[in-house]
Symmetry: C2
Subunit: 373 residues, 2 copies
Amino acid sequence: MTRRPFNFSAGPAALPEEVLQQVAREMLDWHGSGMSVMEMSHRGKEFIAICEQAEADLRELLAVPSHFRILFMQGGGLAENAIVPLNLSRGGQVDFVVTGSWSRKSAQEARRYADVHIAADASLSGAGAIPSPASWTLRPGTSYVHLCSNETIDGLEFHALPDLRALGCDAPLVIDFSSHVLSRPVDWSRVGLAFGGAQKNIGPAGLTLVIVREDLLGRALPICPSAFDYKTVAEAQSMYNTPPTFSIYVAGLVFQWLKRFEYGGQRGLAAIEQRNLDKATLLYDALDRSAVFENRVARECRSRMNVPFFLRGAHDTPALHQAFLDEARDRQLLQLKGHKSVGGMRASIYNAMSLDGVHALVDFLKDFETRHG
Amino acid sequence: MTRRPFNFSAGPAALPEEVLQQVAREMLDWHGSGMSVMEMSHRGKEFIAICEQAEADLRELLAVPSHFRILFMQGGGLAENAIVPLNLSRGGQVDFVVTGSWSRKSAQEARRYADVHIAADASLSGAGAIPSPASWTLRPGTSYVHLCSNETIDGLEFHALPDLRALGCDAPLVIDFSSHVLSRPVDWSRVGLAFGGAQKNIGPAGLTLVIVREDLLGRALPICPSAFDYKTVAEAQSMYNTPPTFSIYVAGLVFQWLKRFEYGGQRGLAAIEQRNLDKATLLYDALDRSAVFENRVARECRSRMNVPFFLRGAHDTPALHQAFLDEARDRQLLQLKGHKSVGGMRASIYNAMSLDGVHALVDFLKDFETRHG
């Protein structure tokens, strides 16, 4: 194999090649322990060291303040849609900002536990744009405000988080940052809780990351399962039940890869953010210049991670769509099919995607247009 | 490395060496796909094939009847302690048979959702034995009866499941078989639902197995999170949310290893059961003959998987206990420390533990006794 194919999967998604190589090397014997990480007790000194290092590296990368707790959990973003209101709603009011499929799903699930209000709905104000925070109808008694800071399916991203206090709202902000975590800094002064599945920018599916402000612990409803009570999990350093140990280990290797990542004279999160910006600019510019392809999201809220695109007008036929996917695969450009709920194509260009990968996609878009435009 | 150390961890636990080797080999490119299994969309044809094969192999190995559904979930046994009553209690009565730490924990958690009754309690009838089913005080209106068919910490195992109908009880039997799944056959005619964490006999922590009779689907309480509603998960073939894809892949390799496993002229589950019996007999015989060590569980309900043992009488000093663990580690016999709640030592001899490993442990027990007895 000269080079690996470029994998544009929306998740589970591509991982850094050197992380995969290290995982393979250490598979039968982690650091002379005689054990695979999969075979270690989660209560043994080896795994505890792995877990503590992963947490410390993540805290450093994302500059997580000391009054926030980092929890490694299970269930994915979809389970968190229930676990968050079980922990934070107090059975009262919760307000949602709906900007796409994921925030809509989150709101729907929260109705099991709380009085849900849609404070803003992107689909009502013309699709493809995030309603201005000034227009949100937040309720005075809301327990928290939920938004999805990057909509994986729709390709919308919050490039700045709202300042709820400036909007006259004292409630904590909950963000689902599954699909852009670690692609850019987080303004923790505006956040009460952030959660995300690991399978985009962190590591294997099955690990869920929760970062929660300490004063929000201890509010769980009595019906919240112990294993999903943030206070219980925090007090046990994510070891209340057996955590997904191997996934935490791989995540830790990804964190170390990010810490040493260099680009444009920078290092770490600043470097990866710069490369993500360059990749996104390259791809959106190509789409905007194309007569065959188009992205339909307003420029100011286009996602740097997930780029859905479609065939324009008369070009939008099932045959041409299939030809695109088949030719892409022949060029080793994998998993470009759009989400079934919206159709079209989608390129997810997470942290592990190189600039070369996006250049290869852009070259293919141009070539495809020359032949089929 | 001439041979790998013998790893007696109670879980996450040792995996077959050839499975780890295959995982390492396929880490960067699964079957020519150009992707690691960690990097595949769970909705792509490659991963769907992996998942379907794993499910079919498991169904074959455990002879799961067609009116049972196999679900791959997340959260571990501890989360299932809540998820089972959320799905099956109907908010009414549930009866528990308490034979050790795990069934006690399960009963405690179920109190959040149901009227819990302890139908039998091993700790009240003299520890170290399972109360006879004829003595259980099952209630006529119970929604289900829960037992832990192998108590990992206490080392008690049900060698036959109770026939609830013969006891005059129509309710389904729920078994937590986390720590002996796939070590022996299951009598499905006596079971309504079986669940278990993967991290003993199946694969990496973070995957939870649920096998449920079809007629028990669709009973979830409205407060049950969608991601944990058995009917929702079953209808989506375990893909309602992103499943722990890599863990399912490793589990599938373990299933294939088991299918080709040969021992004593047999193959598959019958072969592994015979080896498990031989391993357990070897270890318990050594403990029973020892003047220094002892196992305290009644012979008829000793676990074939988890063998807790203690220093006898005057030998039971912290210094000798530490000497045992240190010398064991020097001999490459790993993770023999007992659970913190009961102390002492514990040898978990799951499917992946070879007969050689148990011989090495028995030789060490004898040698230790010669020197310290």
